[in-house]
Symmetry: C2
Subunit: 332 residues, 2 copies
């Protein structure tokens, strides 16, 4: 910048103004400065800018598993919006490791980032940082952050979505309904389970605890859980999987077992990732607007960072039950 100012014969302050507040500078001077900038190939040093301003124009996104396409689509949404708002995205794939979660959360405390988007329900900070963490801009997607915090979050109405799933299965004649959940400690899980149980109860259908499995959101977990269900003497005729990944694993287990979908067992997934349409059979699932949720999370984080007021802590996005070929009438 000094070189530019010398070349034009003005002060560095003028150069700075010409670039950042063009209207504060004579058009004539401005043009000369811009020409010199061009000629010298000057690039503002963002490090200095950040240092001086105390802002990084960067946000951290914490995700447990980037290979889950539902999460990667949310990240895409976050990033798209971040770029529009002039922010960069630091990726934090934790691989379910709590220590890495801490590392990424610390980035906000260290001024490496201005805010945090959590695609999980865990409070990512260490206990000793609890207090200071209350002041950091953070938004979560899908679920509220565990504990007594007031961070905003974007989600869908999991309870209502589950009711729709339950009604769909019951309308097909199913009464022996099982479920495979991803985690056993999140609101998402309890809301989805709650919606399912409520509707079953309304129809006087008993809920069999033996048909409720818990594990991760992965294909592998889905396969293992389904294998356990298949080993039961009395099996469910429909299984509601709390993610498409789980459903994919479950379907594999069922086919390995020599059974057909949906003739022998109906399967419902959750998320509506791309692959659902390409599955055989195509997967009945609940569509979550992943990209939109990511975008919206970034918008709200932006407001938080800039001290703007937030309308509401919880923001619900629309969901849709997509009935495809993996669900069918109950077998006789």
């Amino acid at each position: 910048m000094r070189k530019v100012s010398q070349m034009v014969g003005v002060s560095t302050a003028t150069v700075s103004r010409a670039l950042k507040n063009p209207e504060m500078v004579l058009p004539e001077t401005r043009d000369k400065v811009l020409k010199a900038v061009e000629a010298l190939g000057y690039r503002p040093n963002i490090l200095a800018k950040n240092f001086s301003s105390g802002k990084t124009q960067t946000v951290v996104v914490i995700v447990t598993d980037l290979t889950n396409p539902f999460f990667s689509r949310i990240v895409q949404g976050v990033e798209e919006e971040a770029q529009k708002l002039g922010y960069s995205v630091l990726l934090g794939d934790t691989n379910d490791d709590i220590n890495r979660e801490r590392v990424y959360a610390e980035m906000v405390l260290n001024n490496r980032a201005d805010g945090l988007i959590q695609l999980d329900h865990l409070f990512p900070f260490a206990d000793k940082d609890k207090e200071i963490a209350k002041t950091v801009p953070m938004v979560s997607v899908c679920d509220a952050i565990d504990g007594d915090y007031a961070y905003p979050y974007i989600t869908i109405d999991n309870f209502a979505a589950s009711r729709d799933v339950a009604k769909h299965l019951i309308s097909l004649g199913h009464t022996k309904i099982g479920a495979i959940a991803g985690r056993d400690d999140s609101h998402v899980t309890s809301d989805r389970l709650g919606g399912l149980m409520r509707v079953m109860q309304e129809h006087s259908i008993p809920f069999n605890q033996d048909w409720f499995m818990r594990g991760g959101y992965t294909k592998q977990c889905g396969k293992e859980s389904m294998e356990k269900l298949l080993a039961l003497a009395d099996r469910p005729t429909a299984v509601y999987c709390f993610s498409d990944e789980i459903a994919i694993g479950a379907i594999k287990a069922i086919k390995n077992h020599g059974l057909r979908i949906p003739e022998d067992i109906s399967i419902v997934g959750f998320d509506n990732v791309d692959i659902c349409e390409y599955m055989d059979p195509s997967l009945t699932t609940v569509d979550q607007p992943a990209v939109d949720m990511g975008r919206r999370a970034m918008q709200i984080l932006f407001q938080l960072i800039n001290g703007e007021p937030i309308q509401s802590i919880t923001e619900y996005k629309p969901y849709t039950l997509l009935v495809r070929d993996s669900t069918g009438p109950v077998p006789n």
Copy 2:
């Protein structure tokens, strides 16, 4: 930091040394400093550190489509290694938009990042930055950067892998072999196509240009390409897809068309993403060690950033042809 120094009664320089070069400071002083740091909850301001050092300890990863699980696994590898080496990863999902590519590439020129990992073969910088770009630490994965550059890259021997695929199909009796490529302008494509054609030639099998389709690496493109092949009067009995995503789309098209795999048409994929094993039929594919490739790219980038010598521009990783159920004997 000033507070800490005042509390202990030393200078800020001593505090800095106690934290960064503990051996340069009396153990006694050091302990006092560390205690004060703890007591005051002092956190080094990374912005200031970066500014002072001119380094960001950050790298940018440019990826065209994060939802492709092959890419997201490479990114996972990059990130894992980056964290080990003390670096953060700025994510740059370009969605095939050349402008976004530029934006991310500029981050290195602006001192927002110290290096760049390109998961694509495009030269990401604008023409005007061509010269300066030659000095930036950059590594690519899968393919060499287009143009006359000497950036290191990590890949597999695509030519040899394709030869293995071709031999496998020919050993099953196939002579009518088609292919669906992702792009028509990369080394990856020409190497894979070259390996296939070479082996066919060695077996005096003609290569039919009508059976060679080009498009993106997506499921959608795979489906569309396959539909065109199916519409042909004379169809291939085996189709080699240059990504698993393409293969998934192709399989859907074949099933929609009422044909069976592999009884009517054999399908080979590429990459060995997780879903391959869960497909019906499970997908014959070429395994690429995605996580390793990402890790290694980060290691080499690290060397580049630190001015260490690179052994070789090209680094080949081992691949494996995994024969599963989507390939079978040629139909009569």
